[in-house]
Every structure is written in structure tokens, then in C-alpha cells.
């Protein structure tokens, strides 16, 4: 099994380890729910070095990326990043990834560990001109510090522009080895940073961030268990669970990533057809007021609670968890468009007992400052029950 450069540190911290796509990774150090709360209230430190780091360089790097990604990569300015998708010819999602523009013709692409080899081969097969595709994952790590205190703690710990970074912006770090950089990105839905650097500097930074001073401020190491519950609360998709080659960006509610008219890209024709013909299923979030945890693979049916006749199957759960913040079970999944409207009742059956859930707008949770900002931006005439949370489902 693969190990990150921080593996020994995880063991020393007493982490419960888990096999994640052939990587021996920390599932939790103390408790998933405690680590989840630490990220929402203070700051959590993640080792996400299992993720792949791929450099795409050369005068035609932007063209190469633009032809395989759904977003308009030419619009990504230097020092900025973009969440995007790579599709196959059938319009199915090969991977969801973040493209960072680190220089003029220099892009760093962060890919899911399970797709790393396939992504590199796909990019290699579709590279244009003098573009070079280099998998630089070996010998490099990625740390993420996420939570409301992350910015302040990194300002104190790093010689880098941290507080000045906007979301999806990145900057070099002078003191953390060659080609070290920091970006205001993450997978928790809240404020946070990801730091890309060489292994030995990652070890140094890990130790620094877990030293006495920052521990006092509330920095906790956080495993993949809480990483999953945090991203579900934020309505963020996970490749392999919520996204795969059978899902399209439109079905997945990710049409905001797609620049349909930017020029040709792989999967574009299928997307244009889907746009004309409509969708047979859409991605939704649902919550239960109480009950068991929805698990991937469970059927979603129409109808209300116990006692009523069994409903018709309208979809399937792809992810689920228990939210310690909202104190209720949450699920993500796909349903027929007719069952996707917020407020619709969907049921799951667990051990032959039915539990009713309600479709809700995603995300389930967002940070207070962003929630406030979008309330302010909502038209005053609209008295929507959840002002500001835009419905992104195509109709």
C-alpha cells in the first residue's frame, strides 16, 4: 500500500488508518465528529498527499487543457485556480479537478488519486504542440489547513501572502522549499488553504502547525472520515461516489463549470444534445429529521413516512453522513427531475423500516460570512425561504 511522507506521524498520533484507493491514510485521530467540529470552529490540518500533482507546461498548455476540460481555462489568470471537469467522448466525467495557473504557460493540475494514472494518460494522449505533461506527485506532498482560524495561523507560520489571497488564488511560499505554493482552496466549504510542497518541507510544516503554540489555538489533525462529512455538509461531490463516467456535468449539478461556447472540447457535443433533450436524473441533497445514516447504493422512493403504501423508486443515494453541526443525517444522490424540487419527500428503507427525508437546496451548510453576503445580494422583492441559495438544477 502507498504511504505519504507523513505516514509515521499519523501512526505516532495514534490515527486509525484506512485503505483509501491503495493509500494507507488516517481515517481519524480521535473522532470523526470531533475533528469535523474542530474544522468548523477553529482549524484542521489534513494530509492529502495521496492526491496527484500534474504539471502541464509549454506555449500550448492552455490550449491542451481547454480541449479536455469543460471550463474556459484561457480565462484563468496567473495565480488563480479553477474547479473543473474532464469528460470522455460520451460526456461522462473522467475526473473532477482543480487547475492552478502558476505561470504564463505553467499549470498545476490536482487530480483524484484513483484517477491519477488515467488522467495523466488522457492528458498525454490529447496534448497539443510542445506541451509537456509531468506527474510530479512523487516526492511531493499536499497539506490542507481548513477552518475559520486557518488564515491567522498560516499568516504567523509562513513567510507568504496569506490573508491577501482571495478564494481560488495562489501564491508562492519562499521558505518552504522549491516550487512551494499556497492556495485558498479546499474541500470543506469553509475558508481554508492548500499547500503544495516537497515531502521534507511538508514534514517540517506539519510539525510546525501541530506544535504547542498552534495547538493552543485549536489546530487539530483531521482524517479522511471528517473530510468526507465536511464535504457532504458543503454539498461537494466526491469522485467515485457522486461522480463517475456514467454521470454528466449537467446531471451532477455542475453546469456552472461548463463553458459550452468556448470552442471545441471533449464531450461538448453530448452536452449540447443533453441541453436540447433535457435530463433524466439530477443531483440532489436530502436530509432526515432523525434516523439512520443514508449510505451509497440505497434506493430513494416517493411517498411519506411509515404506514403509507411503498413508493415508486425515483433515484439512488450516492453519499451520506451524519452532520454534527445540523445534528441530522444528510444524503446526496440522483433522482428523477420530478422529485428534485426542494421540499419533496423522498424515503429510504433501512432494515425494512422506511424513513422520510426532504429534498433541500445545496449546500446543507455554508459559512456565516458567505451566507450573509448572499442574503444581501438577493433581490429584496423575493421572499424565498432560503434567500440567496441559488437553485442550480437545470430544468
Amino acid at each position: 500500500m502507498n504511504r505519504t511522507a507523513l505516514h509515521a506521524r499519523h501512526l505516532a498520533l495514534g490515527a486509525k488508518m484506512t485503505d483509501f484507493h491503495d493509500w494507507d491514510m488516517p481515517l481519524y485521530y480521535t473522532s470523526i465528529l470531533e475533528e469535523h467540529k474542530a474544522v468548523r470552529q477553529a482549524a484542521g490540518l489534513f494530509d492529502i498527499s495521496h492526491m496527484g500533482q500534474v504539471l502541464v507546461t509549454g506555449p500550448q498548455a492552455a490550449q491542451t487543457l481547454n480541449a479536455v476540460m469543460v471550463s474556459d481555462i484561457t480565462q484563468v489568470g496567473e495565480g488563480r485556480a479553477c474547479y473543473t471537469l474532464m469528460l470522455n467522448e460520451a460526456g461522462g466525467i473522467l475526473d473532477d479537478l482543480i487547475v492552478y495557473r502558476i505561470g504564463e504557460g505553467d499549470y498545476l493540475v490536482i487530480v483524484n488519486c484513483s484517477n491519477r494514472a488515467g488522467d495523466v494518460a488522457w492528458l498525454e494522449a490529447h496534448r497539443e504542440g510542445q506541451t509537456t505533461i509531468t506527474d510530479i506527485s512523487e516526492g511531493r506532498s499536499i497539506l490542507a489547513l481548513q477552518g475559520p482560524l486557518a488564515c491567522r495561523i498560516l499568516e504567523q507560520s509562513l513567510d507568504a501572502r496569506v490573508a491577501g489571497l482571495g478564494r481560488f488564488e495562489m501564491a508562492p511560499i519562499r521558505t518552504m522549499g522549491p516550487e512551494a505554493c499556497i492556495a485558498r482552496t479546499g474541500y470543506t466549504g469553509g475558508d481554508g488553504f492548500e499547500i503544495f510542497l516537497q515531502d521534507r518541507h511538508a514534514q517540517r510544516l506539519w510539525d510546525l502547525l501541530l506544535s504547542g503554540r498552534t495547538l493552543q489555538e485549536g489546530v487539530q489533525p483531521v482524517g479522511l472520515g471528517a473530510r468526507d462529512t465536511l464535504r457532504i455538509e458543503a454539498g461537494l461531490r466526491l469522485y467515485g461516489a457522486d461522480l463517475d463516467t456514467t454521470t454528466s456535468p449537467f446531471e451532477a449539478g455542475l453546469e456552472w463549470t461548463v463553458a459550452l461556447n468556448k470552442g471545441p472540447f471533449i464531450g461538448q457535443e453530448v452536452l449540447l444534445r443533453q441541453k436540447r433533450e433535457g435530463l433524466s436524473r439530477v443531483f440532489i441533497g436530502f436530509e432526515l429529521s432523525h434516523g439512520p445514516v443514508p449510505r451509497g447504493g440505497m434506493e430513494l422512493k416517493t411517498g411519506a413516512a411509515e404506514g403509507e403504501a411503498a413508493g415508486r423508486t425515483v433515484g439512488v443515494v450516492t453519499s451520506g453522513t451524519f452532520s454534527p453541526l445540523l445534528n441530522k443525517p444528510l444524503g446526496l444522490g440522483y433522482v428523477e427531475p420530478s422529485s428534485s424540487r426542494p421540499g419533496t419527500t423522498v424515503t429510504i428503507t433501512v432494515r425494512s423500516q422506511r424513513y422520510a427525508g426532504t429534498v433541500v437546496k445545496l449546500p446543507f451548510w455554508k459559512p456565516a460570512d458567505r451566507a450573509k453576503a448572499s442574503v444581501g445580494a438577493a433581490p429584496a422583492a423575493l421572499s424565498s425561504p432560503q434567500p440567496g441559495s441559488r437553485d442550480v438544477h437545470p430544468r
Binding site: 486509525k16 481519524y28 473522532s31 470523526i32 465528529l33 439512520p292 445514516v293 453522513t321 443525517p329
Partner: protein, 130 residues
């Protein structure tokens, strides 16, 4: 790891406390540490007749669901209502406020199948137990 000497145990990590009329059942400290983050329980219906070794309850943690087995045969007399609102009591106080249910036992000869604290302790400290 705490394994109170006055309780009896099963190989499947339940503990049993014998009172005058009933037996009280919970899960051991070892089990709650392994499950971690209990968020939901499905307890048996009152009056249900259960057989020794049969699955009678379910505990769900964030990551997975686990069966709880009847340590002895009998009839369910009480369930811990407090767990509906506070499932984490199982993690916080597994031998006290986190008890699961009580049974009126029907087959006294089954006691012989249960483990003493000493025997259970040996089971969970062998590498295989974990």
C-alpha cells in the same frame, strides 16, 4: 481499557449485568472505541422474544452499521430511551448511561456460555481481537 470485573461478556463485545429479575445489556468499552462516533441506534421492541446469539439491535456510527447480539435468550423488558436523543452516550458511558436494553432471561443454563471479565480481557488483548 475498562472491563469491569462484576459483569459478564460475549465474544461479540456485549456486556451483561444480572439484576434480581432482569439482565441489562450494553456494549464494551473496546466495542465503542472501535465503532467510534455512534450517531443512531435501532433497539428491539418491548416484549420481543430473542434467542441467544441472535442479532437484536443495530448501532450506526458515521462510517458503518453494526449488529448487536442477544447475550442470552429472553424477553425484552426495557430499552434505553435516552439514546434516541443522545446516541453518543454509548461512547461516553458505555457501562452506565449508555446501556442498550434489558431482558427477562428464559434459559438460565445459557449463563455458562458467557465470558468472565478475565476471559474477555484475554480475547480483546490478543492481536486477533482487534
Amino acid at each position: 481499557m475498562s472491563i469491569p470485573a462484576d459483569l459478564l461478556y460475549t465474544k461479540t463485545h456485549e456486556w451483561v449485568r444480572r439484576d434480581a429479575q432482569e439482565v441489562i445489556v450494553g456494549i464494551t468499552s473496546h466495542a465503542q472505541e472501535e465503532l467510534r462516533d455512534v450517531v443512531f441506534l435501532e433497539l428491539p421492541k418491548l416484549g420481543k422474544t430473542v434467542r441467544q446469539g441472535e442479532p437484536v439491535a443495530v448501532i450506526e456510527s458515521v462510517k458503518a452499521a453494526f449488529d448487536i447480539y442477544a447475550p442470552v435468550s429472553g424477553t425484552v423488558t426495557r430499552c434505553n430511551e435516552g439514546l434516541t436523543k443522545s446516541p453518543q452516550l454509548v461512547n461516553q458511558d458505555c457501562y452506565g448511561a449508555g446501556w442498550l436494553f434489558a431482558l427477562n432471561p428464559s434459559a438460565p443454563e445459557e449463563w455458562a456460555n458467557l465470558l468472565s471479565a478475565e476471559d474477555y480481557s484475554k480475547q480483546v488483548t490478543t492481536p486477533h481481537g482487534k
